[in-house]
Symmetry: C2
Subunit: 309 residues, 2 copies
């Protein structure tokens, strides 16, 4: 199975309102709840692609119960989340029906006690025993040390399990130094890590910092990948319009599924770009449009890059 | 005991953000959760004034569990809420730290099944047996008939229990016709009911429609009361600044506590205005500042009105 780690799981709530006006009172016309957090989203896409997936991380409180109840209804996803005393955070996405714009409100997440963090590290090491690959995804809840991902990368490497890291800021900086197999920063995270806004140069710099392969997601411009097997740029056939929520998580699912299926890098990138675009096109945030995915896969352009500098 | 009815209970969530910007992503710096819905707020204030209070209405789902857990920690309030299949709604108040403004998002509430509504009416009739007064507060959740309050007013009158109605729109229009002892509309609800924006005239009209006494809350301008014992206007000593959330519910608690203590109308109004202003002044929405309340009570102006027209 593929293991995904979401230390800061979430109950993702989407509200539809006629028009969002600061200082006004709004009647919410539609409420949708989904289990969330990046690793949970990655797991859902992997399961939809036919992979066996296990999710782990922390969950607690009434919101945590809601996350677990909904995960139980997600075929192909095994729940190995650890209960904690604090309550799982909520995220609230407010969709303005007039403009289609989304305003996002993210709670910080529960305080994790040292004993809970220790228990997680032990459970994680056990789960790696049955894993063909592992993805470490998203922000850290309060109380988890900033070097957490670096430690989890080392444990995976010691167990011989390929590890992908998708996070930002200081957790990414420390995590990269622990030599993960793949990091997947977006443009902002990559620039913050390397100080460079030039994707190809920054991607190269991120490899020098320790990542074996770097795949940078550049939104509508697709992916840039620097790997030991070569460098590529993968671009969707046309600019797609829709809700980009979860597009990055779908790209991670594409990369991971390609890794465990031993696909060559260009095919992994093609799959990641097609899944990402098919997620933007889907009416529900974080889902992907399967027909669009199959159709897009044949039309992604993957071009090799020549070595710069 | 005093009975308060909240058919559409809520889990009230308050978020603090640096500045609310539509279409942006926000990190919430503080999350506060409270059991809510107008009748629940009224009960909390009554309990703080030393009254025995029972809350009834509907509750369900994970949010309903959160409401009941928090009610258990509220001294003096007895929980007689009925479980339903749907989930209690959330309300989200987003406080902009820069301006102090609040943006409100209100979920619609769970669908109530006919069998649940029937069960409530039976439980309500039983609870009236031990009640010295009852308050019917707030909006109706989907599935509850628009004439619900009219029926609950009639049941209370048949049981000889004084009944106060605090709602708006069509439920108020129908409820007034069932001859409640007191209705407490705000300026907007009163204008919608009567078609008049002149408070004294509109209050008189609302009495003609069936209410024995009408107390209209006019925000910073205090209360206007038309009763069988006379007409008064009660005004706070100065305009108070703060968060008006729950000020109307505190006024209802003041009126009800004065009713069961058999206070003359001017004293009831004085208490209601002081509680209302002390709620605006309190740092936490829906709480009242006890010291401010004691101080304000001595400084509210209650003046008799001469009969117009």
């Amino acid at each position: 199975m593929i293991l995904t780690v979401t230390l800061n799981t979430a109950l993702d709530i989407t509200y539809r309102v006629r028009a969002l006006l600061p200082h006004a009172s709004h009647r919410v016309s539609e409420v949708v709840e989904r289990p969330g957090g990046k690793g949970v989203n990655v797991a859902r896409v992997l399961a939809a692609l036919g992979h066996e997936v296990t999710v782990t991380g922390f969950t607690g409180g009434g919101t945590g119960r809601a996350v677990r109840e909904r995960l139980r209804d997600t075929p192909g996803v095994v729940d190995a989340l650890l209960p904690v005393a604090g309550a799982t955070r909520r995220t609230v996405a407010v969709v303005d029906e007039r403009t289609g714009d989304t305003t996002q409100l993210n709670e910080p997440g529960p305080q994790i006690a040292p004993v809970e963090w220790t228990a997680f590290q032990e459970a994680y090491a056990d789960l790696l025993g049955g894993a063909s690959a592992v993805a470490l995804c998203g922000s850290l809840p309060p109380g988890v040390p900033v070097g957490a991902y670096a430690g989890l990368v080392r444990t995976a490497r010691a167990a011989g399990v390929p590890v992908l890291l998708d996070t930002g800021g200081e957790p990414l900086r420390r995590g990269v130094a622990a030599r993960p197999d793949i990091v997947k920063p977006n443009a902002g995270e990559l620039a913050e890590l390397t100080g460079s806004h030039e994707p190809s140069r920054a991607t190269q710099d991120a490899r020098r910092r320790g990542a074996r392969a770097v795949v940078a997601s550049l939104g509508a411009e697709g992916l840039v990948a620097h790997t030991p097997e070569g460098r590529w740029r993968a671009v969707p056939p046309a600019r797609v319009h829709g809700n980009p929520t979860g597009a990055g998580d779908s790209a991670v699912a594409g990369l991971l599924s390609g890794l465990v299926e031993h696909l060559p890098w260009p095919e992994r990138l093609c799959r990641a770009v097609a899944l990402s675009a098919a997620t933007v096109l889907a009416p529900t945030a974080g889902e992907f449009d399967r027909i669009a995915y199959e159709e897009l896969r044949g039309r992604v352009t993957v071009a090799g890059e020549t070595t710069a500098a």
